[in-house]
């Protein structure tokens, strides 16, 4: 079943067209990796789907419902959550407060989230500003889960993290995939993206240059889509 259908989506930053006529579908339970160079429009695309950035044209349909004009907090109520780039935790709130402020009815409550992210349990009363990068990323993902999303959008999940923290974050993502959560990941680390996703979408200058199953995708094909040219031997 198609959970998210993006059709001819455009988004701008002032005069700059960041997303240009992008169309793709995401099925329920699928994991899709959005890849592309810096400035390709990945973050803008995720933020537009989440309602944090205005669409300049096109249609975003979620579970068959057109999201046009729906503010971000209403999209969260429908089941769309975004883990933003840079984590964007509320720095003066404790981990517990960061989690509970996002709480909505559903399977993910404070205890179930802490069972999935046990490393957060001893940090519950610590202000978010005093967490390490990996702890912040775990809190950010856990906070989004507290909204009980059907569709989880994760932006630059490994950016700025130590290799060990990246491993931990990807363990969490694998757990979420195992639980049937629908995920759209923006990821710069191609190896990680191909390992976790069922499908890969590559953006270049706001347009889709590649959309293919992750399995069997060659590095050359990705590089060609990534930079817009074929790699010479």
């Amino acid at each position: 079943m198609t959970l998210l259908r993006v059709t001819g989506l455009h988004a701008r930053h002032g005069l700059l067209a960041a997303v240009r006529g992008v169309s793709f579908d995401v099925d329920e339970g699928e994991v899709v990796a959005l890849i592309g160079a810096n400035g390709a429009g990945k973050t803008t695309l995720l933020r537009t789907i989440a309602g944090a950035h205005p669409a300049a044209g096109g249609v975003i349909a979620y579970a068959g419902k057109d999201l046009e004009g729906l503010p971000a907090h209403r999209r969260v109520a429908l089941g769309i959550a975004l883990v933003p780039e840079g984590r964007r935790l509320f720095p003066e709130l404790t981990v517990r407060e960061n989690l509970t402020v996002a709480g909505r009815p559903g399977r993910w409550q404070l205890e179930t989230v802490l069972d999935a992210f046990p490393r957060l349990r001893p940090l519950l009363d610590r202000p978010a500003a005093k967490l390490s990068g990996g702890q912040q990323q775990a809190t950010a993902i856990a906070r989004s889960l507290m909204t009980n999303p059907r569709l989880l959008l994760v932006d630059e999940v490994s950016l700025g993290l130590s290799p060990q923290a990246v491993d931990e974050v990807y363990d969490m993502i694998a757990t979420l995939r195992g639980l049937g959560t629908t995920l759209v990941l923006v990821e710069q680390d191609l190896g990680r993206a191909l390992a976790v996703a069922g499908r890969v979408i590559c953006l270049l200058e706001g347009r889709i240059t590649l959309e293919a199953p992750a399995a069997g995708l060659t590095r050359d094909r990705v590089v060609q889509a990534y930079f817009g040219f074929a790699r010479t031997p």
Binding site: A52, A81, R88, E97, V101, S144, T147
Partner: protein, 287 residues
């Protein structure tokens, strides 16, 4: 003993300033705007209580009971209809909007109630004038103590609301990052509207205490705004308990100044405010 009495009266006066200031501090803390109509909204509340008191012959504090919900709703609507739009216009627009609102309220009150000076002190009976006389030069007024107790209760209630409730967490989250708050399902505009409602209600409470304690007229709002603003800056912008400290420091400065010479009362408060503003913390506020 005169100085001790001055300090004691200053603490009571500071309770009133803190009550005025807490709504201003709340709105600044959550929305980062300074509501220049705050004092006039307090005076509007005082006039509404005066109307109920005169019409129904009720005690001012009984008359406050139906007025408070009205002011809560007025605050909510004020945000939904005026402040929400002006917030979208950048940081200067709310300042101009609330300045204009202050002028509208003042002129509306002049039209409706005339420029006559009024007081609710008479209607409050012995509460407004009675006191416990501890020594020849030291007394504790019923009203002063009541204002201080109410200020502590209101500020304590706000503290608990912010720290212990879901709505409080939503307010703090929205204050820190409204865009991200929306991404976790918090409707920022609704949070802002409720914060404005609470601020207007606390301003009404302060306005009634002012009206019982002394006199008021349609143009009393700006003076109260200045004292509230000074208390907020002295105590630290956006800090709930800092507001109480700021109010008390301002009140004590004014009563000590008055003890030296009555004409130094207001000046002493302004000088303390300017001293704080010139300090490193004050410079941080300006930045």
């Amino acid at each position: 003993m005169t100085w001790v009495n001055a300090i004691l009266q200053g603490i009571f006066l500071g309770g009133l300033y803190a009550l005025f200031a807490c709504g201003l501090s709340l709105i600044f803390g959550v929305m980062r705007i300074i509501n220049l109509a705050h004092g006039d909204l307090a005076v509007l509340g005082a006039f509404l209580v005066w109307s109920v008191t005169v019409t129904a012959g009720a005690d001012p504090f009984v008359a406050l009971l139906p007025v408070l919900p009205v002011m809560l709703v007025l605050g909510y609507l004020l945000h939904r209809t005026v402040l929400a739009r002006s917030l979208r216009g950048g940081p200067l627009t709310p300042l101009l909007t609330t300045f204009g609102l202050a002028i509208v309220i003042q002129n509306g009150l002049l039209q409706a109630y005339s420029p006559d000076v009024r007081s609710l002190g008479g209607a409050a009976g012995g509460l407004a004038t009675g006191s416990w006389r501890l020594t020849d030069q030291l007394s504790v007024s019923y009203l002063g103590l009541l204002v201080l107790v109410v200020a502590v209760l209101v500020l304590g209630g706000l503290h608990l609301l912010l720290r212990r409730t879901r709505f409080g967490r939503e307010m703090r989250a929205t204050a820190q990052d409204p865009d991200t708050a929306a991404l976790v399902g918090i409707p920022a505009q609704s949070v802002y509207a409720k914060a404005t409602a609470i601020a207007v209600a606390t301003a009404t409470l302060a306005g009634v205490f002012l009206a019982v304690r002394s006199t008021f007229d349609a143009s009393s709002g700006p003076t109260q705004l200045i004292f509230a603003f000074e208390a907020v800056v002295i105590g630290g912008l956006g800090s709930i308990w800092g507001t109480l400290t700021g109010g008390i420091v301002l009140g004590v400065a004014q009563t000590l100044g008055a003890t030296v010479d009555p004409q130094y009362s207001i000046l002493a408060g302004h000088l303390v405010f300017l001293a704080v503003l010139a300090s490193p913390r004050g410079r941080a506020v300006i930045r």
